[in-house]
């Protein structure tokens, strides 16, 4: 689960990390009051969406008149911001963060992730901030440090100093930086984060460290013990079909093609998409209906798949392991009737009672192709989609 910048900064503040004085507004008419409460002569207004690249897309602006904050808010609130990280429709803006202006003397990069290879929380730091870190990694890898942190690490301050050195911090800044790493690590562990990124971490005109941005991802598996964070979930930032699927406990990812896929198991779902592509077609989605493909789940899955107007045919691929294929076939039939599916459906059943399942499907009155071989089933779906 992703957080907005302003939500991330609330967490930062809770962990004593230096963030700007700011206000979040949801209505343009609140902009002037917000600027006045913050005080000063210059402000930064930032459109809140779950995507990077906002600055280049016009979603961040430096202003010196509160009226500009109103204008900016009117322009963006309720509209969609398209950045290089979003799809072509962009993300809807529902809130604007107004902050005091920070005078920047240099921009740095700091993040923390769970590194799968070393199986540790790893901090990544660079003296080049405010840019795409992947580009820095590619072009000047010597400017990046990867510092693994052990569970209950006793040498955390030494490691913080290692990072500070690559960030080219002076002694005073390093003194600020060591407790900062300690706080960030505590935040990471205590809030079950999977990614924390400050890009840029800046040195301001006074020479102090300051977190100018905050990007936070939370491990979805841990939300059961993070009720406060769960409240920060913003459904408007998700693909509507994906959000609907998630509510129904189905894994769904929408793609560009026209062959809808319903598969049991994540691996097989990916394998099915690949097989469609292999035979010249294009999958419209990834969908894992789960280990127990009951009628109810299959019906929900059909509903979600069919919301995509591009879908011309649905390929159902079920490997009946513990569940019996005849039961799945009955579930598929009932679901097709319930949802009133009018486009062709190709069903591949394999495993327990697969033949019996095929027989049940052959009795249906709508167009169902029951094909036991996955390659043949995929070819048929591709043919029907053309």
């Amino acid at each position: 689960m992703n957080l907005h910048e302003y939500q991330g900064k609330l967490l930062f503040a809770e962990y004593d990390l230096p963030v700007s004085n700011g206000k979040i507004i949801f209505k343009a008419e609140d902009a002037i009051d917000a600027c006045n409460e913050i005080g000063g002569l210059k402000w930064v207004v930032k459109a809140q969406v779950h995507a990077g690249g906002r600055g280049k897309a016009g979603g961040v602006k430096l202003i010196d008149d509160p009226k500009e904050a109103v204008e900016f808010s009117k322009k963006w609130l309720g509209n969609r911001l398209v950045t290089y990280q979003t799809d072509k429709d962009g993300q809807v803006v529902n809130s604007i963060l107004i902050e005091e202006c920070t005078d920047i003397s240099s921009e740095l990069y700091l993040s923390a992730v769970i590194d799968r290879e070393s199986q540790k929380v790893v901090f990544i730091g660079s003296s080049e901030g405010g840019v795409n870190i992947e580009d820095v990694a590619k072009n000047s890898p010597e400017k990046i440090i990867y510092q693994g942190i052990e569970h209950k690490d006793l040498s955390l301050s030494i490691k913080a100093e290692n990072i500070a050195e690559v960030l080219k911090l002076n002694d005073d800044q390093t003194k600020q930086f060591i407790p900062m790493i300690d706080n960030l690590y505590r935040l990471f562990i205590e809030k079950d984060l999977s990614l924390l990124e400050i890009n840029p971490l800046v040195i301001n005109a006074n020479g102090d460290l300051h977190c100018l941005d905050a990007k936070i991802n939370i491990d979805s598996n841990a939300l059961f013990r993070q009720p406060e964070l769960l409240k920060m979930y913003d459904e408007t930032q998700e693909d509507p079909q994906e959000a609907e699927a998630a509510k129904n406990d189905l894994s769904y990812v929408s793609l560009e093609g026209n062959i809808g896929c319903m598969v049991n198991g994540a691996g097989l779902a990916m394998g099915t998409m690949d097989t469609i592509k292999f035979f010249g077609g294009n999958p419209a989605n990834f969908l894992d209906v789960g280990g127990t493909a009951t009628q109810e789940r299959v019906a929900k899955a059909f509903k979600i798949i069919l919301r995509d107007p591009d879908v011309k045919v649905v390929l159902v691929n079920i490997f009946g392991g513990i569940v019996r294929c005849d039961l799945i076939a009955e579930g598929v039939l009932a679901a097709i009737k319930e949802v009133d599916v009018t486009i062709p459906v190709v069903v591949r059943l394999e495993g327990n009672n697969a033949e019996l399942g095929a027989k049940i499907l052959s009795k249906a009155d709508i167009e169902i192709e029951s094909i036991n071989d996955l390659a043949d089933a995929a070819k048929k779906a591709v043919e029907l989609a053309e």
């Binding site: 769970i114 799968r116 199986q119 079950d192 841990a222 793609l255 990916m270 392991g321 071989d373």
Partner: protein, 290 residues
Amino acid sequence: MSILVSKDTRLIVQGFTGSQGTLHSEQSIQYGTNIVGGVTPGKGGQEHLNKPVFNSVEEAVVEVDPNASIIFVPAKFCKDSILEAAEAGIKLIVCITEGIPTLDMLEVKNHIDNIGARLIGPNCPGVITPGEAKLGIMPGNIHKPGSIGIISRSGTLTYEAVKQTTDLGFGQSSCVGIGGDPIPGSSFIDMLKLFEADDQTEAIVMVGEIGGTAEEAAAEYIKNNIKKPVISYIAGQTAPEGKRMGHAGAIIAGGKGTAKDKIEKLTKCGVHVADNLVSIGSKVAEVLGR
């Protein structure tokens, strides 16, 4: 021979009396697995499926001397269940549960590595040695005793590989689902080592998917250490970047973890990569010249 589990496996089931634990224990017993008891806190002293129930793994260890445990408890309790089994001296722990917080797994992995226990999973179908023991949720009937060792990050893809190698008459020595999570208890490399040393295994099928660099690391290991032929299939060639494809670990991030990179690396290291899910079995036949 086989790897990890055999007729000598004495299994206990953690989360024995729950619905998943019951369903799959019944199927495992039917398959011939020697389940010597189960653990459900608060239900010690009862009998379930004609096997004794204990309050703790420690109690079970004293009473029925198990050498393996399978875990069906809900995700939020898994950390404690895995550590309980490891600390009670169980050397092989199989965790089926999906949805364990990643930071829990970091802690678990660190701890069990120190203790010297082996964890398979979580978020996996389990381990089977056809005809001998089934520790997991896979359908027993598609397997057949034979010569192919199978390792996979995905449940249903394992079944595909099993079905294809059974249909072509090869059968399997053992099949291990290492699971779809970012921090698995055991890696491809851990299992490759075991299959390389196993006499019954003639060739190894390694089913990978997008996300992380476990396949790349395995490829490098295979090049230097594995003499048996390795056949591989990588799922997710059509997966978009930055989207989690069902499994917690199946995500292409920052341009890393793509199927293309994995296939290139595997091919470079001498692994025979099947270009399609449906041709895993025929690739095995081609490589073995049969």
